[in-house]
Amino acid sequence: MTPAPARESSAASRAARLIWAFGTLFMVLVLWQGVTVWWGWVSTARFPAPAEVVSALRQIAVDGYGNARLHEHALRSVLLVTSGFFVASSVGVVLGLAMGASRRVEAFVNPVFLLLRPIPPLAWIPLAIVWLGLGDAAKLMVIFVSAFVPSVINSFSGVRQIETPLFEAAAMLNARGWRYWKEVLVPGALPSIFTGLRLSLQASWTTLVAAELVGAIAGLGSILNQSAQDIYPAMIVVGMASVALCGWLMTLALGSIETRAMPWRAAP
C-alpha cells in the first residue's frame, strides 16, 4: 500500500507489483462475472454483472442519463467543487496564517472556530437547503464549509511548527512586513498548507456528492440519486466509479501542484 518506505524501488519490483495488481484485478473481474452470471450466487437485481455495467456506461456516455451525458455531469460537479474549494481555501489559508502569526487573532477567532469545527460538513446540508434551496447556491455553501475548516487548521499549525531558530534568524535579518510573510511565514507553512488543501479538496468532493445525492438536477451525485430511484444497479456502479475516478484525478492534480510549489524539499 502506498506510501511504503523506499525499501524496494527498483524498476523490477515496481513491475512485479504492477503485475500483481493487474492480476488481482483481473481475478476480481472473473469472480465478479462468476458470482453474478455464471453461478448466479448474487442476483443481478442486487448487484449488476460486468456486462451490464459496460452497457450502462455506454448509455450514459453516449445517450445521456438523468438529464445529461456522463462528461457533462462530471464537468458540472468538478467545476462546482473547484470554484467552491478555491474560494474557501483562499479565505481559509489567509485566516489560518493570520491566526498562526498572531496570538491575538487566534484568541479572537477561536471561539467561533471551536463551535464550527466539530460539526461534520455533511451536517450542513439540511441547513443549506433550508436557506438556499436545492440549487447550486446550497451546494456551494456546503462546499465552502467543508473546505474552509481544514485549510484554516493546517495553515495555522503550519506557521506554529516553524522552528524557533528560523524565526530568530528572520528577526536578526530584519525580515519585516510583506517580506516576512512572503519569504518566511508562507514558505515555512507551505507543506502544512498543502496538507490542508488536500483535506479540503477531499472534503469538498465528498460533501458535493452527498449534496447532489440529496437533490440535484445534474452532477455525478445526481446520477447516483436517479439510478437509485430507478433501481438501476449497473448505473449505480457507473456513478460510483465516476465519483472515485474524478476524486482521484483531482487529488493527483493537487499533488503535482504541490511538488512544483516546493522545489526545495528533499525527495521523500
Binding site: 522552528e163 531558530p165 536578526m172 535579518l173 530584519n174 525580515a175 519569504e183 522545489p263 526545495w264 528533499a266
Partner: protein
C-alpha cells in the same frame, strides 16, 4: 567603535511561582575587533549572554550595550550564527546569503559583489543554487557564516556554531574560521563548551561558573599566541601540540572541574 559591554548583567527567569537565577553580575567587555570566547558547563548561561547581545533575550538587571547603544531587539548589525544553522530551507544558498542584504537596502551590484566574495571565501563555489537539504552540515554552517559576514555587521555572535557538526568537520571549520577572522577581523563573541576550540580561536576566554552563572576568570590567550607564534604553524594539530597551548587548556579544564566538584551530583 563596535564593542560589546556587559555591565553588571543579571538574568532571572520566572516560571510559574519559582525564580531561577541564570546569570549574576556579569561584567565583560569585548573590545573592538576582539575575539572573545565564553566557555562553561552546560546550563551556565553562556548562550543567554549571547542572546542578550543579539536582542533575542533581555537582561533583568544591568545593561548590555553594543557600540555604546543599549540592545533592545535583534538586527543585522549584530549578526548571529546559530548552532542549528537556521538557514531558510526554501531558499537557495545564494538567496539565503542575500536575504539580510536586501533588508539593509544594499543595491544589487554591491550585493552581488559581496555575496560572490564570501562564496569564494567559504568554499561554496558551485553551490549557489543548491538548497540546504542538499548540503552537509558543514556546508550549511559555511552558508550561515557567510550570511552573517556578508552583512558587514558591527559584531558577530556565534552560538556554539560547530556544535552540531561531526568531529572532523569541526576541525576543518575551526581552521577556516581562524583564516577568516585573521583576514576580516571583527568583534566576535563566541560561545562553546569545547575548551580547545576556544583556546585555538579566541583572543580572550571568559570562563563561567555553573548556574547562577558568573564569570570565574578571564584568560588572555592572545599574548600567549603571539609570543609563541602559533599562527606560524599551518595545522591545527600542530598548534594543539604546543606546550603553551596545552598549559592554557589544562588551566581552563581545571577551572571547569572545580565547578563539578562544588556541585554534588
Amino acid at each position: 567603535m563596535a564593542n560589546i559591554q556587559f555591565q553588571r548583567v543579571g538574568r532571572v527567569f520566572r516560571q510559574g511561582g519559582t525564580e531561577v537565577v541564570a546569570l549574576e553580575d556579569i561584567d565583560l567587555e569585548v573590545q573592538d575587533r576582539e575575539f572573545v570566547a565564553i566557555v562553561g558547563p552546560s546550563g551556565c548561561g553562556k548562550t543567554t549572554c549571547l542572546r542578550m547581545a543579539a536582542g533575542l533575550d533581555h537582561a533583568t538587571s544591568g545593561s548590555v550595550r553594543v557600540g555604546g547603544v543599549e540592545v533592545k531587539s535583534p538586527g543585522p548589525d549584530r549578526a548571529v550564527v546559530f548552532q542549528q544553522f537556521a538557514l531558510f530551507p526554501w531558499k537557495t544558498v545564494w538567496d539565503n546569503i542575500e536575504f539580510g542584504l536586501v533588508s539593509l537596502g544594499v543595491d544589487v551590484a554591491e550585493r552581488r559583489r559581496r555575496i560572490e566574495h564570501y562564496i569564494a571565501l567559504m568554499g561554496l563555489a558551485g553551490y549557489e543554487r543548491a538548497f540546504p537539504h542538499q548540503l552537509s552540515g558543514g556546508m550549511q554552517q559555511r552558508v550561515a557564516i557567510a550570511r552573517a559576514y556578508v552583512l558587514d555587521p558591527k559584531v558577530l555572535l556565534m552560538d556554539e556554531p560547530f556544535g552540531a557538526l561531526d568531529a572532523q568537520t569541526r576541525v576543518v571549520m575551526q581552521e577556516e574560521l581562524v583564516r577568516l577572522a585573521r583576514r576580516h577581523p571583527r568583534t566576535v563573541l563566541f560561545i562553546t563548551h569545547a575548551v580547545e576550540e576556544a583556546v585555538y580561536l579566541a583572543d580572550r576566554i571568559a570562563v563561567m561558573t555553573r548556574r547562577p552563572g558568573r564569570i570565574r576568570e578571564v584568560i588572555d590567550v592572545k599574548s600567549v599566541r603571539e609570543s609563541e607564534r602559533w599562527d606560524a604553524l599551518e595545522r591545527i594539530e600542530d598548534v594543539m601540540d604546543q606546550p603553551s597551548f596545552v598549559h592554557l587548556r589544562t588551566h581552563i579544564w581545571k577551572l571547569l572541574r572545580e565547578q563539578q566538584g562544588e556541585q554534588a551530583h
